[in-house]
């Protein structure tokens, strides 16, 4: 059966907390998995004594086991693919979110524009 690397929701109402698990694809979300390889806390938190408004999310991950399970064909869900691509275990699935810069204009178009601006 297909193996998945996915999230299992724990935590409380309005306070989600996820176990990162390796489980068979057809088993229930919170059923006992093959292995728990980490946790994901989706609630953004500020550092203590930091008033700058910067927030972070905490993830615990056993990278070695994650790599192993990817190696034997486990399929990460989209969310897990996103997280695993952040640490370089996988290639990012979606396009680069960085703001794109326009390609450079040909030289003959560039010149008159530069002269008009000055």
């Amino acid at each position: 059966m297909t193996l998945k690397i996915r999230l299992a929701r724990f935590g409380r109402r309005n306070a989600p907390f996820y176990n990162i698990v390796v489980a068979h694809a057809r088993t229930a979300r919170n059923s006992k998995p093959l292995e728990v390889i980490g946790t994901y806390d989706p609630m953004p938190k500020a550092d203590p004594y930091d008033n700058s408004g910067r927030l972070h999310k905490d993830i615990q991950l056993d990278m070695l086991r994650a790599k192993y399970w990817i190696g034997v064909g486990a399929q990460p869900t989209d969310t897990m693919w996103r997280l695993l691509s952040m640490v370089g275990i996988l290639e990012p699935k979606y396009r680069n979110q960085q703001p794109r810069t326009a390609p450079e204009l040909p030289a003959d178009i560039k010149k008159p524009e530069a002269s008009s601006s000055t």
């Binding site: 724990f10 935590g11 907390f17 176990n19 990162i20 698990v21 006992k32 292995e35 728990v36 390889i37 980490g38 946790t39 953004p44 203590p48 004594y49 910067r54 927030l55 972070h56 999310k57 905490d58 993830i59 615990q60 991950l61 056993d62 990278m63 086991r65 997280l83 952040m86 640490v87 979110q97």
Partner: protein, 324 residues
């Protein structure tokens, strides 16, 4: 609970309100009960024998307790204690504003170690640290123009016996500073047969209670003071012994700081930080195989399956117990 009677239409209730406001002056106070109850007569003020006695006492002997003591200081019913039924109670002395300022100045301005200040003034090590932290907060607030509850602090300090320190002289200590917390492993009765010929030291006693327990000499807050006393017994001059104590305290403080720094650095190294447009994701490397064969080992990664989670159990402390 008053009987549930359906409320009248708003117009009639308003007129009833106007009418009743002419009848009795208390209507504004008992408005909800007026709507539910049947009588609009205000109840008579209750005057029990006890209350009458109290009023009488307040006029005669108790007159001096109506207002604060004009000379300042506590105004106790019994001579020396805030609890008249517990004459044995004595409040511990608290440090006054001047003493706290002195401690802050020694640590933050003169750069003395916490241990040295604690030993010199006879103030518990944890108390010295707390005073410095709170003073820092206070000074931060003052610099930001925040208002302090000075009058409250004054009132509290007025009611308690105070202890002050004078700078530059030898002060009498506030409390015992080298006491050991009771280790739970030492609370059981223990019969430990040893040979009479064998020397049984504190180290051995600690080992007898628990394999990992440190001896009492090492668990005291100021092991350096013990060393200083030993130096004095060895006919070292007091000045030299004192200098050695201060350098030992500095050394131990430096070691503690280094340990803390190394811990933070290790944590930093084990964490990979990825910045996105909104949040920083912090990936911490863990070992998922520490859960053991049955996957039930405590304090390892992940919430456990088929095990109760005690985060809401009655009687457990749910607020943070340490400062980050």
């Amino acid at each position: 609970m008053p009987p549930r009677i359906p409320t009248k239409p708003s117009a009639s209730s308003a007129s009833a309100l106007v009418r009743s406001s002419f009848v009795s002056p208390c209507t504004s106070q008992c408005l909800p009960s007026c709507r539910a109850g049947f009588s609009t007569t205000p109840s008579r003020e209750r005057s029990t024998i006890l209350r009458r006695d109290f009023m009488m006492w307040l006029k005669t002997r108790g007159a001096k307790y109506r207002h604060p003591n004009p000379e300042g200081g506590p105004n106790y019913l019994a001579s020396n204690t805030p609890f008249p039924l517990n004459p044995q109670f004595r409040s511990d002395r608290v440090l006054d504003e001047q003493a706290r300022e002195l401690i802050w100045e020694k640590v933050m301005k003169k750069g003395e170690t916490l241990k040295a200040v604690s030993a010199e003034l006879g103030v518990d090590l944890a108390r010295v640290a707390a005073i410095v932290r709170l003073k820092e907060v206070e000074k931060d607030w003052i610099s930001k123009g925040k208002r302090l509850a000075t009058s409250y602090s004054k009132a509290i300090l007025n009611m308690l016996p105070l202890k002050t320190f004078k700078p530059g002289v030898e002060n009498r200590p506030l409390e015992a500073i080298n006491e050991i917390h009771i280790h739970t492993a030492t609370q059981k009765q223990l019969f430990w047969p040893t040979a009479e010929s064998r020397q049984f030291t504190r180290e051995d006693a600690a080992k007898a209670f628990h394999a990992k327990m440190l001896s009492a000499d090492k668990r005291v807050p100021h092991p350096e003071l013990i060393r200083m006393e030993r130096d004095l017994l060895r006919d070292m001059s007091p000045d030299e012994a004192r200098a050695r104590f201060i350098s030992a305290a500095e050394q131990s403080e430096r070691q503690a700081a280094e340990k803390q720094r190394r811990k933070a650095m290790d944590e930093e190294q084990a964490t990979k930080k990825v910045k996105t447009s909104r949040f920083e994701f912090r990936f911490k490397e863990v070992d998922s195989e520490l859960v053991g064969k049955d996957g039930r080992a405590p304090n390892v990664v992940g919430w456990k399956y088929g095990m109760p989670h005690y985060d809401r159990k009655k009687g457990l402390v749910k607020i943070p117990t340490s400062v980050p």
